[in-house]
């Protein structure tokens, strides 16, 4: 369950274009940074505006010193507006929220699949794996090379693109399946579009402990509105993505994929 969280007025330090339509904004957030764990999220809202109205959920991208970063693809009204704010302008952060990835342990091998804005978790996971002494391998998928963010991390990173402009020509789960023939990771993590997560659940969920960060419409992020249900496996009931998740063991949940 979610632990302590803060509402913090955070000053934007800078925003940079990291890949096509993909931005990384760094904010000063001294209360949230020390306690955030990989896979947890923050709700980001604007001061004094009613449109956009609701806060936006972002997986924390990195947290170090007193600086928190978020990575996002600027496609909606909220993300476009955030990308256009200047250093010194303020956003309201509510976090850390939710349940993140399980603790990493020394000597464990963890394979991490990310896609789209799910790549946000690469820096924070690398940082916590470094502290824990676990070995990470990243599998990073995008539609095209221009959408891949060049992260400065030491971990092995394999790319896949739908158009073949970088790395493996195809989807990231197929690439993982190929590489899995010679290796057996201790855990698999995933953060990205729902079809990627569905495929990971199907391919790896039954044989490797697999943890998936789900994405779902969310209004409050705190359990107030009950607006972000995630189906429990083998049960008529729901989890809430904001409190029970957003990271779930893949065997705990069912994806409700439309035909």
């Amino acid at each position: 369950m979610a632990g302590k969280s803060f509402l913090e007025t955070a000053v934007i330090l800078d925003t940079r274009l990291a890949a096509e339509r993909t931005y990384i904004s760094r904010l000063r957030s001294p209360q949230i940074v020390p306690i955030v764990e990989a896979g947890q999220f923050v709700m980001v809202s604007f001061q004094d505006t009613l449109d956009p109205l609701l806060p936006r959920a972002f997986s924390v991208c990195d947290a170090t010193g007193d600086t928190l970063s978020i990575l996002y693809v600027a496609v909606g009204r909220g993300t476009r507006k955030i990308s256009g704010l200047f250093p010194g302008e303020k956003l309201i952060l509510n976090g850390p929220l939710g349940t993140g990835f399980p603790r990493m342990e020394r000597g464990k091998n963890i394979w991490v699949a990310v896609g789209g804005s799910g790549a946000a978790i690469v820096p924070i996971l690398s940082r916590s794996a470094g502290k824990a002494g676990s070995e990470l391998r990243f599998f990073y998928g995008a539609r095209s090379k221009s959408q891949l963010v060049p992260f400065e991390i030491s971990a092995y990173t394999a790319h896949a693109t739908d158009d073949g402009t970088a790395g493996f020509h195809g989807n990231i789960v197929d690439l993982m399946k190929l590489e899995l023939k010679g290796a057996e990771p201790d855990m698999v993590f995933g953060c990205g579009p729902t079809p990627m997560l569905v495929s990971m659940q199907k391919e790896f969920g039954n044989r490797i402990p697999t943890y998936l960060s789900v994405e779902t419409p969310m209004a409050c992020g705190m359990g107030f509105c009950q607006g972000c249900p995630v189906k429990r496996s083998g049960d008529a009931d729901y989890y809430l993505a904001c409190k029970d998740g957003p990271v779930f063991r893949s065997t705990e949940i069912e994806f409700e994929v439309k035909p």
Binding site: L53, T216, A219, M222
Partner: protein, 315 residues
């Protein structure tokens, strides 16, 4: 410290600020964000006799200055609320008003009987207005006779403060408010959400699983303001305004329009620490204007009845 006390039936609230049902979980979730005891009252999520799973996702979507929701009355059921949540709310110093919903008239009565037995439950709000599930009361809330019958039967078993939450999705909400008053309700909440809809133009699918959902947020405030005004002119019991409150000025505006108390909802999703700021703003407004009792503002709108076309029409 100015006097912000207001009264609904026998219940005195220290101030007019209440939470709207379904916008703060069971109330205990608020505790990390502000001292729950500063509120006039905490209204629970709609409770049903048996736990309810709620609707399939997507349950929420943002629209201009508002949001659509279709949660489907997901809740842990009245028994677990009484066993697990009431003790927490008591410890937080919250004044508890339980909101109930049912698909059968007799279930409203059973729920009211159970909750009447709890000393901590100081009032009841009947949800006769959920737009998102068949069994959420909307069918009861859109028929004056049925509404009257439910209020009458619940009134018999529940002696504490009884509030009826009305739907705005009717032609003349005043008729429903008057019916509730006639059967002994102590107050009416104006209003639940408005039936609304949004479509994703790329997938061509509705943005809410149930296709339509309930619209809330600042977008609805002027519409609800008019209904609060109309209802307060039609009944003599307190009106509780609920619709798009985001600032302390909104609270004062509703009170001047005729509300005795207000419920905040969508605001809690965006600014969960807002209640303290709203109360501070009202306090400063009262001090500035040398208003000693907030209740003296209720229905204080200065207007000429002759200027209101629909009022002239009815009177």
């Amino acid at each position: 410290m100015p006097d912000m006390k207001v009264r609904i039936g026998d219940l005195e609230l220290k101030n007019p600020l209440m939470t709207a049902s379904g916008t703060c979980g069971y109330g205990d979730e608020l505790k990390g964000y502000f001292d729950t005891s500063i509120l006039g009252a905490v209204v629970s999520k709609s409770l049903t006799l048996e736990p309810k799973v709620g609707n399939e996702p997507p349950r929420v979507a943002e629209v201009a200055c508002g949001m659509l929701n279709s949660i489907g009355l997901a809740n842990i059921g009245v028994r677990r609320f009484m066993d697990e949540k009431i003790p927490i709310l008591d410890e937080l110093g919250a004044l508890i008003i339980a909101n109930i919903a049912a698909k059968r008239v007799e279930d409203y009565v059973s729920l009211a009987e159970m909750l009447a037995a709890s000393k901590s439950v100081r009032g009841l709000e009947l949800n006769l207005s959920c737009p998102n599930v068949k069994e959420g009361g909307i069918e009861f809330g859109t028929d004056v006779k049925t509404l009257s019958n439910i209020v009458k039967l619940v009134r018999k078993v529940f002696k504490k403060t009884l509030i009826v939450k009305l739907t705005p999705n009717v032609t003349r909400i005043e008729e429903f408010a008057s019916a509730a008053e006639a059967e002994g309700a102590d107050g009416v909440t104006v209003a639940n959400t408005y039936v609304g809809m949004a479509i994703d133009i790329y997938t061509m699918s509705p943005k809410i699983h149930t296709v339509t959902g309930g619209l809330s947020g600042p977008a609805v405030k002027p519409i609800t303001m008019a209904k609060v005004f109309q209802v307060s002119k039609s009944v003599s019991i307190p009106v509780i305004a609920s619709g798009g409150i985001f600032t302390w000025q909104d609270v004062v505006e509703y009170i001047i329009a005729g509300a005795t108390a207000v419920e905040i909802g969508t605001l809690l999703f965006t600014k969960p620490d807002a209640p303290g700021r709203l109360l501070k703003g009202i306090e400063e407004y009262m001090a500035d204007r040398k208003i000693e009792r907030l209740s003296s503002l209720i229905g204080g709108i200065r207007f000429d009845r002759d200027n209101v076309p629909h009022m002239n029409h009815h009177k």
